[in-house]
Subunit: 256 residues, 2 copies
């Protein structure tokens, strides 16, 4: 597989995900977003609202990957400490952004700029704002880090705002084939095909439950259309052979 | 808050989560599981099917936390490499477990032990089996690491199997209060209450969308019932005061 060179990671910040109170919805959205843009999402981390942990994770991820996308911890309350962590990770001060204040006041005329609300206008030195079309309080872009909200509608709006600014890679194409014999039978010949097509990533995903029938979904992924087609044809032929064998076995051993 | 000393982390292994093909369901299930047992889930990582990445993450997490729970990558196909990674992380060899083979053959009489299926009986030296009541192929327990399946029904069955063997902590109690004014107004006095109750963790979660009304959910968490009650009473009084002020403002500025 030709190396995709635009890598990314995600840092989900919030006690509520780890405590089980809230089910995360943003990881899957970011995974789809990256796929559309040909960005290779390599790692996601979820951590709680602890400053030192956020700083350590930010520094590990921004060093390792082209992009770091964060969600959570940018609201007005005491437990919203992501801006503080980003400033600490980059070794810069937080400043009140007049543009951020203005964006909030434009949206909500008569808005009283309480100290809590002012927290949402704090931007690390050298950072830019990410537009928030939902609720005005902006996200933050600094270096290769994009700091976005945890509320799903706002997170999505912020992704839409940054999409045109991101470097994109070659989009990975994929095909999918359903196989009605189990992985235990499919595994060996499928492994041989993977060895034959090292440039196409072949994944195998069993599904249990529902009816009695086995279902294994084989997913092939590559940025190269012709190689993807060749591997897909090979897997398709294998699956048809296994289905035929399986039918013959059933015919030879009818239930009595 | 009295320090809870039973910490845990989760490692989700699988390209399909990062590519967006599959939405993870196991993180929320593990979060609830840990909450029930008083285990403090501190971090989750999601990484792809790459041996060196899995080894590095396993070693980082098993050093830092009391428990590491993994999901994914223990099936019979070539992309199932979690057992290999665990063996490499612990510096031991993989061995075919006769007990694992037997468990699979007992479940599926006449089962042909193909090389693919045999992959699922490979256990790192020094490891124990985790029972799989759904589909027989076992998980692995070695050191402080619990290696489980990615298929949600099997993951849950394996959690049920290990639950009685885990060290448990003091269960964290929580209360929740709905506040119908925004975080911008709630933030400052709520921050003051957090300072007053440093032993109770106070989180604030805004919800957008739906009606025009603001809704902020305040969640309080502590292992100490009496402190939790005192902090909850204080937040309740604050929220009632804000509601009253809000009503008065509406009365004084009726819509024309």
């Amino acid at each position: 597989m030709p190396a995709k060179d635009i890598t990314a990671s995600m840092l989900v910040i919030g006690d509520e995900i780890l405590s089980g109170r809230t089910r995360d919805k943003n990881i899957g959205v970011l995974a789809d977003f990256c796929g559309e843009l040909g960005i290779d999402l390599k790692e996601v981390r979820i951590i709680g609202d602890e400053l030192s942990e956020i700083v350590a994770a930010l520094n590990a991820l921004r060093e390792k990957y082209r992009y770091v996308f964060t969600s959570g911890g940018i609201g007005p309350t005491h437990d919203d400490i992501t801006a503080d962590a980003v400033a600490a990770a980059f070794g810069v001060e937080l400043e009140i952004s007049e543009a951020a204040k203005q964006a909030m006041m434009d949206r909500f005329p008569g808005y009283e700029m309480t100290p809590a609300r002012l927290r949402m206008a704090r931007i690390p030195q050298g950072g830019d704002l990410i537009e928030n079309s939902v609720s005005a309080a902006p996200g933050i872009h600094i270096g290769n880090v994009y700091v976005m909200a945890g509320v799903p509608s706002v997170f999505e709006a912020m992704l839409a705002a940054i999409a045109p600014t991101l470097e994109t890679g070659k989009r990975v194409l994929s095909t999918s084939i359903d196989c009605f014999v189990g992985e235990g039978r499919l595994g060996d010949p499928l492994g041989a095909l993977q060895a034959e097509f090292p440039d196409v990533k072949i994944g195998s995903y069993p599904q249990f439950g529902g009816g009695r029938r086995f279902l294994t979904q084989v997913v092939l992924r590559s940025a190269d259309q012709s190689r993807l087609n060749a591997a897909t044809d090979a897997v398709q032929a294998l699956v048809e052979r296994l289905h035929t064998e399986h039918q013959a076995e059933i015919a030879n051993h009818p239930k009595t």
